[in-house]
Assembly symmetry: C2
Homo-oligomer: 117 residues x 2
Amino acid sequence: MNMCSYICASIKEEMSQLITLSVPKEKLVKAAAIMKLVAHPTRLAVVDLLGRYDRLTVNEIADATGCEQSLLSHHLTNMRLSGLLKSEREGVNIFYSLKLKELSKLLACIENCECNL
Amino acid sequence: MNMCSYICASIKEEMSQLITLSVPKEKLVKAAAIMKLVAHPTRLAVVDLLGRYDRLTVNEIADATGCEQSLLSHHLTNMRLSGLLKSEREGVNIFYSLKLKELSKLLACIENCECNL
DNA sequence: TGATTATATGAATATGTGTTCATATATTTG
DNA sequence: CAAATATATGAACACATATTCATATAATCA
């Protein structure tokens, strides 16, 4: 390695150091995980509904989304276990609601972005 | 089915008709597809970088993200083929950039939501 | 032209996800 | 208590996705 290539490498290294993420990696991991959870038509629908109706029973969500009960239940269970939703029993019904209210903002945002696709 | 159950069913039906999606289903499908594409730490990083640096070579992105070249190339190719990115060769380098500028807004939005997690 | 650098591609594999189906549980009501 | 309703659960399967590795291509330069 001669002097020139040494200097060039050095410059290159400095240059590339300028290009950095604006967000720590762990945050990207977290964000990606949340997006992944929501990145499904039925689950987006759930977020949409619960963002507007505060709380709904499984049946109501099933009706509104047209999703079969068992499948919907799986979706809801996943979303609950990963902290997106919470549920409370009331008699024979179980009401679901958003644990992270911000999620509906996310939907609105995507809505927005998506217009310009 | 007696009169009462008929009336009840009817009321129930009317009630449940009030609960509807605010967005047509196809739109949810589209939105979910976009989110799915971005819902990965490396790909979020790519969106972040290209939102701020306008255009970058594969190597620059690889350095900044710490992602191995072949794997990154796969990610970039996917994102390009699905319309999120575009690429242009310039000599030995290939520059990638956001085709959907709105994507970086999406990232900001998630950032926001994510704070309150 | 041959070496080097930047990038892409394809096969193989591991792992994850969505869906279905059958069945279980909990609550209410007659 | 038996029946009906609302919801959950678990196994099985199909399918998609992420990753790795080896190799290909394309451009540049000596």
